[in-house]
Symmetry: C2
Subunit: 343 residues, 2 copies
């Protein structure tokens, strides 16, 4: 790797830019490596099937705050996060492995709670806890999760298969998890500042559930199989709808056009966004952690896709160079950009 003598800060460079920069010279040496960096999971040839491996790091204070995240929920979510990447390649997860770093502030009961959540997610999604290590840490909790799955060679769906005119589809709704987090964060601040001990979460059970105990839209995947609809590309929405759509566009070499009025947003999300004085479209496009699926299908499937419950068409792919736009009902168009670390 050529030294650039570049003392830029990481934030300046941008997360995805940095990953691309660091891995641009990666050489693939093994013929079993089908897809490396750049998709939801690594794809490894195992003979008849493909093995999918995804890995994730969850850091206290960044990915979770233990003040409002029960450890059981955290364990559950850690598994969801890892297996979500396997589902996003149309695979079936089989195993998860947990590497846990914990400081001495934790006791055995707390770690039991965490593992209870892990076990429950394993049970609900029929995966095996196939490995685990625990190591001491200086501060806080770190969770490394690896998920392994498999998919038949002919069934894999990657990020790079979308074509111009393909329909852009999503499962579920967006922005709820982000708004749930804002609510929990607000109540935490009230607790710290004004000693309000009873958080006021009534009426917002849905958004809080979406933040603390997300689920994977498995029924939509089953629906697609039943209707014999094969997506041309797929990704799970964890970084945010905008960012993840741009991933697909970049890897597929397309532009995109989605519609404001088509992006599904739950009533609680809208109501809470209003309370916080923010446009609900902001968390819907850039919130992240939705754990919904974003995928593209050929235009011919427009009628068939209506048969699949909880799936909505939000726009279509355009040719490369046509830009990335979200269109309002009034005909206005705004360019889509990824928030947070630069795309």
């Amino acid at each position: 790797m050529g030294k650039s003598k570049n003392k830029k800060s990481i934030n300046e460079f941008g997360k995805f830019g940095l990953i691309r920069h660091l891995t641009s010279n990666v050489i693939i040496r093994n013929k079993t490596t089908i897809t490396g960096i750049g998709d939801d999971a690594a794809v490894i040839d195992s003979g008849k099937n493909l093995t999918l491996v995804s890995t994730d790091l969850l850091l206290e204070g960044i990915h979770f705050n233990l003040i409002y995240t029960p450890l059981k929920h955290l364990g559950y979510k850690a598994v969801i996060r890892a297996i979500s990447d396997i589902y996003a390649m149309n695979g079936t997860p089989g195993q998860v492995m947990i590497a846990l770093g914990i400081s001495s502030k934790f006791n055995v009961e707390q770690v039991e709670d965490l593992y209870e959540g892990i076990s429950l997610a394993c049970k609900n999604y029929q995966v095996d806890l196939a490995g685990g290590d625990i190591t001491s840490s200086l501060t806080g909790m770190t969770i490394g999760v690896t998920a392994v799955g498999r998919v038949e060679k002919s069934n894999i769906i990657k990020r790079d298969g979308a074509r111009a005119n393909d329909l852009i589809c999503v499962t579920g709704d967006f922005g709820a998890s982000f708004m749930g987090l804002q609510l929990l964060e607000r109540e935490r601040k009230l607790f710290v500042k004004e000693k309000v001990t009873q958080p006021d979460l009534a009426g917002y059970e849905y958004v809080i559930g979406r933040q603390l105990k997300p689920e994977i839209p498995v029924s939509a995947l089953t629906g697609l199989k039943n209707e014999e609809i094969r997506p041309t590309s797929m990704i799970d929405v964890t970084d945010g709808l905008a960012s993840d759509l741009l991933h697909i566009c970049r890897l597929s070499g397309t532009g995109c056009r989605i519609f404001y009025s088509k992006v599904p947003i739950d009533y609680e999300t809208s109501k809470l966004a209003e309370e916080f004085n923010i446009d609900p479209m902001v968390p819907a496009l850039n919130g992240g952690e939705d754990y919904e699926l974003l995928f593209t299908i050929p235009l011919e499937m427009a009628e068939k896709i209506k048969m699949v419950e909880s799936v909505k068409v939000i726009g279509h792919m355009t040719t490369f160079g046509s830009g990335y736009y979200i269109a309002g009902d009034d005909g206005s168009e705004v360019e889509i950009s990824a928030q947070g670390w630069k795309e």
Copy 2:
């Protein structure tokens, strides 16, 4: 998992005790899960071959100190650590995946250095960097490494296959990495306390190399294949020779007896231990991070094993209940125990 209402601290419980406790009720649901928790890597059925997956977490301040660990070496070691588990099951690593957590104190050049080390290890061991993610962290650096490998079904070597009378063999020598760390730590303290800016490391290049840039004894594995010696059990020595030997004994249901005079210790290790006023056998048995292989072979192989370079027989397995002993030349016997977190 039954709540024990046990508010014991984690240290009291012991690392391995805690892992066993947390995973004692784990249910295996998929027939592709061959071996789960308790070996070097998870073993997954992939048709003709087995897929091996290992995962590790490296935390700043616990597993490495950036004051004396160059980032390039750290990247190299992170890969070694993960693929070592694959070799320890007689597999061939094919892919590694890196999940990196970094705080804003790092700049792009530093992350480039880390990736240079990762790339070099990938090149030297012919593995592919097949995935990676970078996330921001509040403090310091966290590295999650996942390695994927494969092994033919008939060739896998696990931890539980040792039998009484099997010979206990090791590659290389022990305690060097630990003593290298002590030396680096001493020089760091001198630097902090007395502003000695030029560390005095002359004459100790071997132990420092073993700490900063460990290698895997691949030639010994090739030697075993060439001589058609199939170990009955195998493990890589990362926790310490004593601790890892006890792992094999516990899983195989055997006792063991090794000999003081047979444990290989390099001259530099002994000399430095003397300087530090410690018995060289302490780092050799309990130091850890040796990245050597510990394995057992049938007694009949006693002559044949002499043909394999860099392998030494250090003792033999005994029947279950005979205890775990290290014997001196004078006939004295001391019970082996694992240091650090309780076994």
